[in-house]
Symmetry: C2
Subunit: 377 residues, 2 copies
């Protein structure tokens, strides 16, 4: 993640963080080096995608680690220290952390990396009903996150796999770059992934009975699971209820991949010249290009910079005062993709204006300083 | 890092980030999975502390990675894409990232973990003079960081090892928990680590000739190196100077361990009851304890909470409204160590006051709402 991409990633993380905090998630950070004993306890030491490490170390053989590819094991062990009574429930914690998976098919760049960022939220409940209610709450939070990030994500039913007989849910953005296949209704919200979809209604939606089923590529940017007692069983995670009886804790887990979200945004918002970042996660809101290197131009540009920085914050204005050709500078502005490009040049000064162009629009226009103020407010 | 510790860590990172940005460092993020070929190119694939991974993966043998324990190799490779002319220099980039080292002596908890956070800054220069000037600038930034973090760090001369014949510098906090040994003058700033210290002056300082040499335990929280051309040689990192001649790039690298800084702060600021966080990195500035559960107390506490949150920000007030005994609540407040503890109880309401106690002081006092406003400003 180079500086510009890193800025976008941080803004994505911040949106996720705000919505996780809004559903009472507490942020923490778990280790990436997860001791073998944790994976053995859940019978996941021999999964295909785990990176094992420590085998090369003569003196540390007993310290074999599996790199964290998910953290149900670790959080269940931590939870044992903090959950012992019904008073300690419900509880939700999350982290934003690099995960490691030995993906054989890591070929789609940032969309499927062997090292990728993940927000993983884990929730702990006294009973199934409480988990169900929280699960719906997280669906709401996810919808809000993706809507704030300007992504249209479908909530897609998927198999519960080994965890549960109920469906789990994937959040899929329909996009030709996606590796997944999504079946969805063109009229209502119904959608299923390829693994569970079975056409039993002659191409008609089994939910609303009106719409037609369509098929498309999807990028999975989030998924949520009702884990039930799989990990609380493996790690003996119990609590005492009001009567003093021992009960097993019920768990849920909820993932979003911020680096994959970033890649999805690029796939969704681009043209032949570069990226068109939505304002909320753009590396900079304003890209100020200075054309010409006379003292007059330099001074005017400085003035415009100060006004723009005063309105949107210094850290939101990219100030291109390089000695480079106009072509190079304008191409770079299109490539980087800040939502608004300002130009100060001999020409704009003569007109007593500033040239303004939205990245999403074809044509530029000349506006006054006062109008700039209104535009950036 | 549980939620409270994670908050402290973020605040430490923020201070570091501000001072790195102030010396023109650009933040980015490099991979933790670093392909074998990079380590082989610098002849560091067989160092003792590297975690190798991928050996367990049948189909991915050619994708053997060493977990990033430092990132000179990666940043040198990245720099090749961005540095080709003297116009591209100087350049400084940094990241704040988990590092992995197979430490045989990982026994001091967070002070020496196998997985630990590191801020690593790398700088690129056209010549030695420019590196020397920047190196001094970073020493200044480090002094500012540690002073803002309320740590007295000594700048200690150390061996350049394989990198350089010049000294490198460690930033050491004298503390009995430290694993290092520091020799220092009790009168001037002179200090050296155990490896290079040789007493040739009968216990007198070789620098000021007045002070006496003392010896103490130190915790190393930062270190800086003039790398010279070690990595630019290995990775063919050249630039064209003004005449068009090919020149080798000169490099520096500068580390701080934020998780170790956190541990050092705990070692420096504690008493028998818990931690005494300096305000700038405390998990919360204010800890509001509600004693009693009558409606009257609850309402008054709510009022005080709003006033405090209005003054220091909602996220800076820890609001303890649990149904727990006064003893438990007050012990927890001491343990957590917010700089200021407020109590609202039947007693304080009767007096029309709020009880205030600094964590660093023995006794509490009763103050008015107006006085609270002044205290928190």
């Amino acid at each position: 993640m180079l500086p510009l991409g890193f800025r976008v990633l941080n803004k994505i993380n911040q949106v996720i963080r705000e919505e996780m905090n809004a559903v009472c998630g507490e942020e923490l950070l778990m280790p990436a080096l997860v001791h073998k004993k944790y994976w053995e306890q859940s019978k996941r030491w021999d999964v295909d995608i785990i990176y094992k490490t420590g085998e090369n170390l003569k003196d540390l053989r007993d310290l074999q680690y599996g790199l964290g590819w998910t953290h149900e094991e670790v959080i269940s062990s931590i939870a044992k220290h903090f959950i012992s009574s019904y008073k300690d429930l419900p509880k939700a914690v999350y982290q934003i952390q690099m995960k490691f998976r030995a993906e054989p098919r890591a070929q789609a760049g940032i969309l499927r990396g062997r090292e990728f960022l993940m927000k993983d939220l884990y929730s702990f409940h006294a009973d199934k009903k409480d988990l169900d209610a929280y699960y719906e709450k997280v669906i709401g939070a996810y919808k809000k996150i993706f809507s704030r990030l300007c992504l249209k994500a479908k909530v897609v039913e998927a198999s519960g796999g080994a965890f549960t007989k109920e469906y789990t849910h994937e959040f899929q953005v329909l996009n030709p770059a996606g590796e997944d296949t999504v079946y969805y209704c063109d009229s209502c919200d119904w959608a299923q992934n390829k693994e569970i979809f079975q056409d039993g209604h002659g191409g008609k939606c089994p939910n609303c009975k009106k719409g037609n089923i369509k098929m498309d590529h999807g990028i999975e940017i989030g998924n949520i699971f009702k884990l039930g007692t799989k990990f609380s069983d493996a790690f003996n995670l119990f609590y005492l209820d009001k009567k003093g009886d021992r009960q097993i804790v019920i768990m849920g887990s909820y993932g979003i991949g911020p680096t994959r979200v970033l890649g999805t945004l690029v796939e969704e918002y681009n043209d032949e010249k570069g990226i068109l970042w939505p304002e909320i996660i753009a590396p900079f809101r304003v890209h100020l290009v200075v054309l010409g290197d006379s003292e007059k131009v330099r001074k005017e540009a400085e003035k415009v910079y100060k006004i723009a920085a005063g309105l949107v914050g210094e850290s939101e204005v990219l100030y291109d005062e390089r000695t480079a050709s106009p072509g190079e500078k304008l191409n770079d502005a299109d490539l980087i993709g800040a939502p608004l490009r300002l130009i100060v040049s001999e020409k704009t000064i003569k007109e007593k204006k500033i040239e303004v162009k939205k990245r999403s629009e074809k044509s530029a226009k000349l506006i006054s300083i006062t109008q700039l103020g209104k535009l950036l407010k």
